[in-house]
């Protein structure tokens, strides 16, 4: 058993986008703030901070999760992926990211990192989704610009492309 005292900072270690990483956190620090303020990884956005808007969605141990509904100390030893881990190399977009650009699936871009992380995971587990399934998955995200139509189109297009190429 370990007891981490309220007033002190404690070392947290986990895997972030396939790289081991560590930083210090008080027990009350949210994973969103740990990523952004401690590690400087500002790709994960903070919207409502109570799990409703989906902007902070990341992947924890292979499943999509709200970073704002997670304490940094809870991910000790976990595998975390953020939007910074999506692009295969600098200057090159993933299939899903590229589909977002071609379909104009974002305007202000605030909700985009969370939606990308959700859909990236969804398309890996559901290679042949229909529109209803994509929309149901998107129900966990708020976008106030697009009306979602372009996001759905991008997701379905990316799914088709991923089936052709066989990888992300």
């Amino acid at each position: 058993m370990s007891r981490l005292n309220a007033g002190s900072r404690h070392r947290v270690r986990f895997t972030l986008n396939d790289e081991p990483i560590e930083g210090e956190a008080e027990p009350r620090l949210l994973l969103t703030d740990f990523l952004r303020h401690v590690l400087g990884m500002t790709g994960t956005h903070v919207g409502c901070e109570h799990g409703v808007c989906g902007a902070c969605t990341v992947e924890i141990d292979g499943v999509p999760a709200r970073a704002c509904l997670t304490l940094a100390v809870q991910v000790e030893g976990a595998r975390v992926r953020t939007v910074e881990g999506l692009a295969p190399e600098p200057g090159k977009l993933s299939v899903l990211q590229d589909a977002f650009r071609r379909h104009h699936a974002l305007q202000c871009g605030f909700c985009t990192p969370g939606i990308l992380m959700s859909l990236d995971n969804f398309l890996r587990n559901h290679p042949r989704p229909n529109e209803a399934a994509v929309r149901e998955h998107l129900a966990g995200h708020l976008c106030r610009c697009t009306g979602y139509v372009t996001i759905v189109n991008a997701a379905l297009d990316a799914a088709a492309k991923l089936r052709q190429t066989g990888h992300a």
Binding site: L30, G54, Q74, G140
Partner: protein, 275 residues
């Protein structure tokens, strides 16, 4: 919105959890998936001195079939139960209810027992546990005990669990031959909290009907096999009995109407599903 400061205990054994809860009592909160506790911490509706993380205890994981029930351990996430292959065969009501619990992005972390522990009056899992006549397994340093769902939910987000107790598991009775099960929910958007949710179980003695989202806790009633008119009268009486209130999301009158109409639809669907 940031949580107030608290100590964090990463427990590795049940004895450690029991000791921490015995020592801290009401100053401690258990965290499992955290999908309800974190918003409460961030909004400072909960300000515990100590948060006890139970997710590293292997004995709290696992879904098993025991005594004609599905036993779901405290560390089992909602998505895990939804993906459990025998679920629809063993308990169709649970299979119908789970896709309505939060969103995919919260079911991935939120636990079944956590939802039961929180006892939100509009939550689907407490409704299912009550409708099915399930059981909550509690343990503490002092004792182990099982509490039936009808005695567990005691009021608005209030349960029979006392401060030093941990919910080890919940048990949902398996489907019974010849019974029919149905669930319906009305909300503004899929994934929102239910404005009204209904569960119905048809059996030889009649129907067990349960409602969430109206009273301060889920409420279940047993009706004998009634004629259609008498059934509608019973649902109307129940709609008034639940003392619905107006709030931001819906009027009391609308809620009563949902109990009458959606309630009847749920019962009719359960009749059709009777196998």
């Amino acid at each position: 919105m940031k949580p107030a400061a608290f100590d964090y205990i990463r427990a590795e054994t049940l004895a450690e959890v029991h000791a921490a809860l015995a020592a801290e009592g009401g100053r401690a909160r258990v965290i499992a998936g955290g999908q309800t506790l974190l918003p409460m911490l961030s909004m400072r509706l909960a300000r515990p001195d100590v948060v006890v993380d139970i997710m590293r205890l292997p004995e709290l994981g696992g879904i098993s079939l025991e005594d004609a029930s599905i036993r779901v351990g405290a560390a089992v996430r909602q998505a895990e139960l939804l993906a459990w292959p025998p679920l629809a065969e063993q308990q169709p009501l649970l299979a119908a209810v789970l896709p309505w619990v939060g969103h995919a992005q919260t079911r991935s972390r939120g636990t079944v027992c956590g939802s039961i522990a929180h006892a939100d009056p509009s939550a689907e899992l407490p409704l299912a546990l009550l409708a099915l006549g399930g059981t909550v397994e509690l343990s503490s340093k002092r004792r182990r005990r099982n509490v039936v769902a009808a005695d567990f939910f005691t009021g608005l987000m209030t349960t029979a669990r006392v401060d030093d107790e941990l919910i080890d598991a919940v048990r949902f009775p398996c489907r019974q031959k010849g019974h029919g099960y149905a669930f319906r929910e009305f909300g503004r958007r899929h994934g929102d909290f239910a404005i009204v949710a209904c569960a119905a179980i048809i059996h030889d003695g009649g129907v067990t009907f349960a409602v969430a989202g109206v009273a301060d806790r889920p409420v279940a009633r047993d009706y004998p096999a009634l004629e259609d008119g008498a059934l509608d009268d019973a649902l109307d009486a129940l709609a008034w009995e639940l003392e619905a209130r107006d709030d931001l999301h819906a009027s009391a009158r609308f809620r009563r109407d949902l109990v009458r109409r959606m309630g009847r639809e749920t019962i009719d669907e359960a009749r059709r599903c009777r196998a």
